[in-house]
Symmetry: C2
Amino acid sequence: MVETAPWITYRPELKVLDCTIRDGGLINNHQFSEELVRAVYDACVAAGVDYMEVGYKNSPRLHPREQFGPWRFCDEDLLNRIFADHDADRTGLKLAVMADAGKSDWREQIVPRNESKLDMVRVAFYAHQVSEAVEMIEHCHGLGYETSANLMAVTNIEDVEIDTVLQAIKPTPAQVMVIVDSFGHLYREQVDRLYKKYAEAMAGTGKEIGMHAHNNIQLAFANTIEAIILGANRVDATMGGLGRGAGNCHMELLLGFLRNPKFRLRPIIGLLQHHIEPLKTTVEWGPLVPYNITGQMNLHPRAAMQFRASSEKDDFVKFYDQVAADV
Amino acid sequence: MVETAPWITYRPELKVLDCTIRDGGLINNHQFSEELVRAVYDACVAAGVDYMEVGYKNSPRLHPREQFGPWRFCDEDLLNRIFADHDADRTGLKLAVMADAGKSDWREQIVPRNESKLDMVRVAFYAHQVSEAVEMIEHCHGLGYETSANLMAVTNIEDVEIDTVLQAIKPTPAQVMVIVDSFGHLYREQVDRLYKKYAEAMAGTGKEIGMHAHNNIQLAFANTIEAIILGANRVDATMGGLGRGAGNCHMELLLGFLRNPKFRLRPIIGLLQHHIEPLKTTVEWGPLVPYNITGQMNLHPRAAMQFRASSEKDDFVKFYDQVAADV
């Protein structure tokens, strides 16, 4: 067998999506300054990132505007103001939003693509919401958007549920089906198994497989690499791993791994230094022990986040005992 | 093909080595309190860890005692005092030390096994030191010890050098040949390639393959898992990932992954809370951006450690530019 060294070459069709503001906003109810959002945007352009997901299109009915920041809604006038000079053809960076099944007024909130700065809508849903997700994908596709199907919390449902979702998404116009490890629980052999399941289900449709990993047990980057090795061409990352709980796959690690010369690491390093590290004085994220524990136990990080917000936040043993007793 | 779920079973022959004090001591010249060392020991016993590497047998000629702490030398009287009640037969925990080629007075420093608390000597060496390493292994084996061959900085040498080392180690009595990713540079396909090379070279000798990973690009745990999947039966970790620069594979993640019921996570969580987290006020470790950069560039973390000790420690772009200019 001829030995190859795949780690020094690249696949041009591999696209990187930055979801710093969208996923990171779950820490602080999307109360980011406009300066920070624009700095992330500028870094994405300079680094050659393919997509930036700037937030949610969530319903203001369900998410009061006095409690949630503007990136929870991504109103078109906000996008027009912050990204006034946006030009995906020139920069190569497309803008995306996420719309949640059950949490969005998607029939009203999403305008035709040719009236928006946005190029893509990613539809996030739990397995039981797949019927609404299909409608959302078809609706957004009809408005001209690229679309993506993001089945959340995949480690928490049965194989038969995953299979049913995949069969429901298969005939839709979604270009991407994303493996979403919401609890940061997957190990590499489990990634392999899910990737093969997703890829087999989507075979012949032209759909790409995506990977969205969380870092509870420090495997977000590793699992993203694994999905890439297997053939995933859409991968998510955030600057400095910023994201709820343990955070996400780090953009600076991912771009350091990818060998496409269009990617440039230095603008990301600059963003980390000037904008992301300073956030650590006000928000916390990363693979801390309580997140390790929920990740290992395949639990939503909610309990760990609450614990870290309490006065007992460093009493790891107490948290371990609480969680172990519940499992 | 029958589908299996290997992540819910285990191999009883898989042994875990804690090298918290040995590798972590490279941060602080092995100036740990006796209380801390004993706490790590007690946690290893309680958690079912197989080996604890308590430090180096390095030469006091080359390492002045006024500059280096006692765990750099592991004098027998120290071991006899701190581990007075040590009983590997009762607890299942064996004690190990590391001896470096070129830095040890191994002919004088190492006493017969039946006069020592130690059960194992791990011989660390660079490729060009393999001849001394072979002598050291034979010497220590002659004294009754289990031995291990730890070829350091494997990402920095040619294939032909690795092959030559493996052929030199093959006929020795070393029970273990360890893959040592000193610079924290390896990705999973590279781990695969090295593992196969090591395993093929040692086939038929009964030697086990070990994995010692560093966390510069957050892949220490992932690469350790990868080696385990491939068949490695000796793996290293440290409590909280404590170790020079970016640190090591985290023991709490590793034991959370392993399914052998003899391993218990709770004592490790307690150690982290009471002894390891408090160290963060005086020493720094973990996959910080400067270590990401040296790891990606396959460099010794030395430059990053110096940078983090300087007044410019948060000027990541400056560090990136310095390092990129040198590569």
